[in-house]
Each structure stands twice: as C-alpha cells, then as structure tokens.
Amino acid sequence: MPTVTLTVNGRSVTADVDARTLLVQMLRENLHLTGTHVGCDTSQCGACVVHVDGKAVKSCTTFAVQCQGTEVVTIEGLAQDGKLHPMQEAFREHHGLQCGFCTPGMIMAAVDIVNRKGAVDEATIREELEGNICRCTGYHNIVKAVEAGAQAMTGKAPARQAAE
C-alpha cells in the first residue's frame, strides 16, 4: 500500500492508502475532513473542488498518490485565524447557499476564479461556474456572492474577463 505525504490546510499528513484511493476519499475517510463532498461520479458537479498547489481541482478525479508533496487547501482551511475568507462572507451575505451541499466546492471554485481572473462580472462568473452544479439556488445569488467576493478580494469593480 503506497504511503502519501502531503500538506493539508497547513498541516503535514501521511497516510497509507490503496493505490486507487481518490484524493476526496483520503480527505473524507482518512483525514475526516468531510466538508469536501461527492455529488457525482463523472467529474461534472464540482462539489469536491479543493485547491492543490493553489489551483482548483476536482478531488473526485484525482488520485491521492498524485498529490504526493503537494499543498492542499480544503473548505475547512479557507478561513484564517478564525476569520472567514471574503468569499465565505460573501456567500452568507448574499444568500448564495440553501442546502449547503454544493457550497464548499462552489466557494473553492469561486476563489480560484478570482485568483485567475480578478474582479469578474456576471457573464464571466456564469461561464466560469460551468463545472459546478447547484440544484437549490438557480445560481442567482451564487453569482451575486461571487461578484461581491471578487470585489472584496481584489478591491476592484466587476469587469468582463475573457473566457478560457
């Protein structure tokens, strides 16, 4: 059984895992970080999005062994020193969640969008959220939350950014 060592939310962790263990399984089952969710089995819904070395990945489609030596941040590690991340604040303030199941992946994806694109406008956000499905909100308030979160993170007004 391979041994994997990686940093999760700033803490170094080592686990013996089956070679077929997915990153999301290691996070949820070995490390008991159950904030990262599994909503599908085809890499479509994005409930499992975490950051690996600063980039958003779908942890349901990443083997744990691929993450050897990486720096992983999950929803549990986003708030710093007890202070919510601006994107978390924005989701609460703008009612960007209902049942909360897609929310961790949505927030992690949203932070990544802003890291890549800066202050984004509605059209850009809607295109960029292509890989995250929410069944509750109709996206209306998620889009508002991401726009506000982006403004809080960058200090800039929303603008149209080129699609990728």
Partner: protein, 787 residues
C-alpha cells in the same frame, strides 16, 4: 439585544457551518465497526430471477454477508407501501403489486435490487457483487407511457398495467359546455419525465444496539418520523420506541427524500441481521436509476370558450406513469395534487378530468417539486395561451377576462380558494417586464436573426398540505398536521422542537425569527431542533410548501400557550392580577403602571417557583401544539418569460424573467426569493434541458450528469422577482408557502414564450436546440410548400 421582526431579510443562522465545511450530512457519519453495503442491481428492465448464486461471492475477501429476496421473505420483512388509496371510476381500489425491498422472483426496472453485499470496505463489496451469478429470464420491457396499457404485463395484480382509472368533475356538464362552445382549443401534451437530482445523493447508516435491542437509522430524509412510522408499522423493522430515525443536514430533496426506499430499509434491517453498522451512499448513477422520478404525463387537453372569450369548460385525459412499483405517495400526485388544480386562476363552470395511472418497467415516479401542480399548470396555461391566440385575443386580456375575482371561490374540482388577487400580480408583472416595449424588442431581435417571444404563466397551487380530515376523505393514509414544542430555559433562551425538517429552506432562521418577534428575545437565543425522532416526538416533515403555513403555525400556537403561562407567572412576580398583565416587546407590564419585568426574569421565576403556589400553577415553561390546518393555502402569481431563439442553431436564450408571486405574509424575503429562484431554475430545466429518457428496452440512457442536462449557471439569467400580498385567512400567520411556485410556474411561461416566438403550438419539452431547430425546419419547409 436585537429582536428580529417578521419580514426582515435576516442572514441565515445555519450558514456558518455550511460555508466552513462543518455541515453534517448522512455520508459524513461513520459508526464504529461499520461495514459497507453495495446493491447488485438488475441490468434488465424486465426479467424473471431464475437463479441467484452467491456462493463464490460470499467467499470473497472482506465479505460480511450477502442477502437476497429469499432472506427478506424468510425474515418476513414487509414490502414498501403506497400510503394514499385511490379508487377507480367503478369504485374498486387501486391495483398495486407487491414492492419487496429485495426483488423476489422478478425484476421490474433497470436498477431494481437483486442482492445486497455487505463487506468491510465498499471496494470489497463491489468486487464481491461482480462475483454473484444471476440467471435472468429476460422479458420484453414496457417503457412507453402512452402505450403502457397495451404493453407487457408488469404486475399480475394490475390488468392492462392500469393501477387505477380515476376521474373527477362533472362529465355531463362538461360535455354540454363543449357542445355549446363557440371555440374549442385542443392540445396534445407530454409532460417530460424528470430526475430530482438533489446534490446530496441518498445515503443511510443502520446501526443495532444489542444491549438495548434498539435500532438507529441515519438517513437523508425530509420526514424522519414518517420514515419511522412506515418502517415500524408496515415494514415491521422494529416497534417505534425501539427505532430512532435521524436525518441530519439534508442536501436538498425536492420531494425525492420524502419516500421510504429499499436501500435505507435494507441498511437498518441488515444492521441487526449481520451485527455491524451498515452504511450505503448512492453514487450518482444509482441515484438516477433508483430515486423516485417526477412528472411523466401524456395528456390530451381541451378548452371550450364562448363568443365573448369566456371559458366555459375544460376537459382532460391523462396517462400518468407510475414506474415499476408504487412509491410512497405516488398515487396522489396525478390525482388530488393534479386534477384539483385544473381550474387555475379562472372561473371555469365545468371541468372533467380522467387519469389512468400505469405501471411500466421504469423507476418509480412520485412527488417532485410541485408534484402534480406543475403538470396541471402546464395544461391550463398552455391551453389558455393557445386559446387566446386562436380566438385573436391578447393572452393577458384573455386571462383577465376569465380570472376569479371573488373569494372564497369553489372550483368544480374540490378546491375552495380562500383569497387572492390575480389581476394585481399580472398587472405588476407586466409593468416589471415592460410588456409594452416588447414589440420594439422583438423587431430589434429580428434584425439580429433571432425570433423573440413572450410567454405568461399565471399559475395557482395548493400548498400548506393539509387538513387531515379532508385528505383522509380523499384516501390519505396519514394526517397532515404539524407539531411544535417550545422549551423556554430558566435563563430565557428558547429551544423549538419541530416536526418540520429543513433540507435547505433555512428553518433555523425563519422559525427563530418567529420566536424572536413573539417573545422579544434575540434570534441568537433561539435554537431549532429537528430531524431526530428521539428529540422531536412526532412530525409530518417538509414537503408541499407546508413548513411555513403548517409548521410555523404549530410553533405560533405553542407560543400562544407560552405567553399565556408566562403571564400567569409574571402576575405573581409583579404582584398584580393576571388580567392586568400586558406582554409586548419582551416585557410584561402591569396595565397603566410602569411596573414591568422582562421575559428572562419571568422564565427564571417559572423554574425557581418561589413566587407562586406550585399546587395551583405548575413550575416550568414548556408548551406544545399539534396544528391541523383548516384549508389548503393557494399561492398564485404571474411569471413572464421573454426568450430569443437562434434560427440557425435552435438555441434558446432567456432574455428576461419576471416573477410576481403572492405568498401571503412573508417571514424572510431573502429566503423566499431564494426559493423562487431555485424553483424557476428547475422549471426552466424542465422546459429547456432536462428529460429522463428510457429506450424501448427500458434502459435509462440519461443516467449521469454527462447525459442528463442539469441547468448550469450559464443556462439561466438573473431573475426579476416581485411580490403582491393577500394574507392567507386560513392560518394564524397569513402564510401561503413559497417552495414550489417557481417550478410550477416556469415551464408554461417558457413554452408559451417559445410558441409565441416560433408561431406554432407544437413545441415539445425539453425544448432543446435540436428540438427547436427541427420545429424551425418543419415550418420553413411548410412555408416553401405553401408558396
């Protein structure tokens, strides 16, 4: 201390745990010694089970147990039930086949449960399941709703695959209305089959405590008490006092988590049998295959009008697909939740509806957001729009001519509408949508090669289900009241135990708002307890937009009792007569004086009991209520969709969405608007994107998010949402309910906009680019042929 008023858009108390990853859903629960269940499912839609050989699989690594239908039968585990009795026209009861939790002798749909493998790990369970040898005798499948009654027999108990042929209304009066009609509008309607797809897949953990001979089921449920009742009284898992059902955070439901399913039942049954906690979590494809689907009606609908454009009659014949087995409330959906709403917002003197419910070799079909009412609204609103066009009237003017304007209004199909102002919501929506400027926008779109259309949906629904005696007389097996218990602690903080159960609706906030405003305490000093049968005594759960109208009414009634008792305590503290005590803004005051005491002090005195004689007044401050509503509630409103179709590609883009809803009094407008947004998205999904497709062999060809088009952010616009208010006279808070309105209103608004844009009534759902492109091509060929 801040008191939170009713009507304030206060931010949600539950959000902190969800945005920090601390929510606790069923799959987050792991019990010591837990084993994992994996279900071997039928790959065939219809087959006899000739032989199941588990010998090799049982010897595989990590396997704890393998059970089949034979084990279920040997243990005398009861089958799953349908809790609503419908009678056919001739008075005979519906014909339901048995619904075992593991198949016995026959499988009836792809995904039907052949065996369960329980192993130390899920991987081991999956590996062992592959080693089970099943000899299937494959039979022809019956997977077409319209032809189901002449297709292969699904259950021997139901000749012609007909569960019931039911009707409602006055047939003779309706026929007379059609005979005398100046104009008759006829539509053939297919209401497409949908998969609810809550983002959290269903999951369960069953656990047996041998020391106390007691079972616990953790599960994804909208109504844990109903689950316990059914598991106890009908399936025979354990008596109620020996069975605890816990539904922790629930990640969306939309109806699909009301029902009692095979997998959850197996987990709790198997936990005792194999002596280990048993966990199962659906993967998404299992969810597609085995969750109860929604809609799936084939309907012929007709509307009769007179020379003045008044509706004189409505006639409907519907075939409703029940799937392979009757799910928990399946029978009520195409009958009392559907045909009773066929009067819409209109004064229609004569209505007659016939509904045949049919078995097919497909997943069971049951309530999905709106449940029957979206199907009814689609029929009525498509008919009304088409009729207006055919007789050359403006669709809004035609609606206004036929609106019900006097309340209460008795329809010909049971419902007594208690209040409403349909003109007000239509007028407001037309203003917000700038209907006057539509012609200009349409001409401008034409210059860009786009066909632009505008469609209305003036919907009505029956919510707040429901008066127990009324639904009992219609066949319901349960009462539909709700319970609440308000516990005031000695320091004046409050716990509310409610039988409602949130799966995203924000009860922890809105229910606390009610308590805050009534008792004058901070919202932070109120907590809401739900979802655990060991904590809350009983409840009917959350569905049918009932938690505000019924669940909060129960809390309101319990608060009345709290206030009455607290006044007695306050009278002793203030040394005044009880009749002289006023309670306002969290303060008890002796009338006409400045002598007062706050709520917290009264709570403390209720518990220390020093100032009154406990033989005359019991210590403590805790009250409960069971509230049974006096009527359904009738949310209604007007949605207007403006849409553009690209003639070259058939791609439809929603240009503008306007919703004006009348939900009665609103507790938290932020949450209510969120419900509207989500409902519209599901309704637009039905109209433009979603459709569960079974091929002729009964294979579900849309069984993943790769194949079934879920609405994504770029498929939808932002919505323009407004409200009108006629307070509901049928409950103490004047609430009507808001959870389903969007999903009920939206499909008709979209299709009415598309049919307006394309100039033909023949637009199917889902109106995918391919479907619309085909309609456009057909029209241009017809136009060329006509020249």
């Amino acid at each position: 201390m801040t008191v939170t008023a009713l009507g304030a858009a206060v931010r949600r108390k539950e959000d902190h745990r969800f945005i920090t990853g601390k929510g606790q859903y069923t799959d987050d629960i792991n019990r010591p010694g837990q084993a994992h269940a994996y279900f071997l499912r039928s790959p065939h839609a219809h087959a006899t089970l000739k032989k199941i050989d588990i010998a090799k699989a049982k010897a595989m690594p990590g396997v704890v147990a393998i059970y089949t239908g034979d084990d279920v039968a040997a243990d005398k585990v009861g089958g799953l039930i349908c809790g609503w009795m419908i009678h056919s026209k001739d008075g005979t009861p519906m014909r339901a086949g048995p619904h075992p939790i593991l198949a016995q002798g026959k499988v009836r749909y792809v995904g039907d449960h052949v065996a369960v493998v329980i192993a130390d790990t899920l991987s081991q369970a999956k590996d062992a399941a592959e080693a089970i040898l099943v000899d299937y005798g494959v039979l022809p499948a019956n997977a077409d709703t319209a032809k189901a009654q002449s297709g292969p027999e699904v259950h021997v108990e139901a000749p012609n695959n007909t569960v019931y042929d039911w009707h409602i209304g006055d047939k003779a009066a309706t026929e007379a209305a059609f005979k005398a009609a100046k104009h008759v509008t006829t539509l053939e309607i297919v209401n497409n089959r949908l998969v609810p797809n809550a983002m959290e897949p269903r999951a369960a953990v069953g656990e047996y405590d041998s020391g106390n001979d007691a079972l616990t089921l953790y599960t994804t449920s909208q109504n844990p008490h109903v689950a316990r009742l059914v598991l106890s009284a009908f399936i025979g898992i354990a008596p109620e006092h020996k069975l605890r059902v816990v539904a922790p955070d629930v990640g969306g439901g939309f109806g699909s988590k009301i029902f009692i399913y095979a997998e959850e039942t197996v987990c709790v049954w198997a936990a005792r049998k194999c002596g280990r906690p048993v966990k199962w979590t659906a993967d998404r494809t299992e969810e597609f295959l085995c969750v109860a689907h929604g809609r799936d009606h084939v309907t012929r609908a007709e509307l009769a009008t007179d020379a003045e454009g008044k509706i004189t009659g409505l006639r409907v014949k519907t075939i409703a697909n029940m799937g392979a087995y009757l799910s928990t409330f399946a029978s009520s959906v195409p009958t009392y939740l559907y045909a009773t709403l066929l009067s819409g917002q209109y004064a229609i003197p004569a209505i007659y509806a016939e509904v045949d419910a049919v078995y097919t070799n497909t997943s069971p079909v049951d309530a999905y957001r709106g449940a029957g009412r979206p199907e009814a609204t689609f029929v009525v609103e498509r008919l009304v729009e088409a009729a207006a066009r055919e007789i050359g009237m403006d669709p809004a003017a035609f609606r206004r001519r036929n609106f019900i304007t006097k309340f209460p209004h008795q329809t010909p199909v049971i419902m007594m509408y208690d209040c409403g102002d349909y003109k007000a919501s239509l007028v407001k929506a037309m203003e917000m949508a700038d209907v006057k400027g539509f012609g200009k926008r349409r001409r401008e779109a034409a210059k860009r090669g786009k066909l632009r259309g505008l469609g209305y949906s003036t919907y009505i629904e029956a919510c707040g289900i429901a008066p127990s005696q009324a639904v009992g007389s219609l066949g319901a097996g349960v009462g539909l009241w709700e319970s609440a218990e308000v516990r005031v602690n000695p320091v004046g903080t409050v716990e509310v135990l409610t039988g409602s159960h949130s799966h995203g609706q924000g009860h922890e906030t809105t229910f606390a708002q009610l308590v805050s405003s009534r008792l004058g305490i901070s919202i932070d000093n109120v907590s809401i307890v739900h979802g655990d049968t060991d904590k809350v005594q009983f409840g009917m759960g959350t569905y049918g937009s009932r938690s505000g109208a019924v669940g909060m009414s129960a809390i309101s009634k319990a608060l009345d009792k709290i206030e009455a008792k607290a006044k007695k305590v306050a009278s002793h503290v203030l040394e005044a007569a009880e009749a002289d005590i006023d309670f306002k803004d969290g303060k008890f005051t002796v009338k006409g004086t400045d002598k007062s005491v706050d709520f917290g002090t009264v709570a403390l005195n209720a518990y220390i009991a020093h100032k009154f004689n406990p033989q005359e007044l019991e210590p403590g401050l805790k009250e409960g209520s069971f509230y049974d509503p006096t009527n359904f509630t009738f949310p209604a409103g007007c949605h207007i969709c403006e849409i553009e179709v690209d003639q070259e590609t058939g791609v439809a883009t929603i240009a503008k969405w306007t919703a004006v809803d009348d939900f009665g009094n609103v507790i938290n407008p932020m949450i209510v608007e969120g419900q509207v947004h989500g409902g519209i998205a599901q309704g637009v999904g039905q109209a433009l994107l979603e459709g569960a497709i079974y091929n002729k062999d009964g294979q579900l060809v849309t069984a993943s998010f790769m194949d079934y088009a879920m609405p994504r952010a770029h498929d939808l616009p932002s919505f323009d949402v407004g409200m009108t208010v006629t307070p509901c006279p049928s409950n103490p808070l004047g609430i009507k309910g808001c959870g389903e309105a969007g999903a009920i209103a939206a499909p008709a608004a979209v299709i009415n906009a598309l049919t307006d844009a394309l100039g033909t009534e023949e637009v199917p759902m889902p109106a995918t680019p391919q479907a619309l492109w085909t309609v456009i091509q057909k029209q241009s060929r017809a136009a060329i042929a006509a020249e």
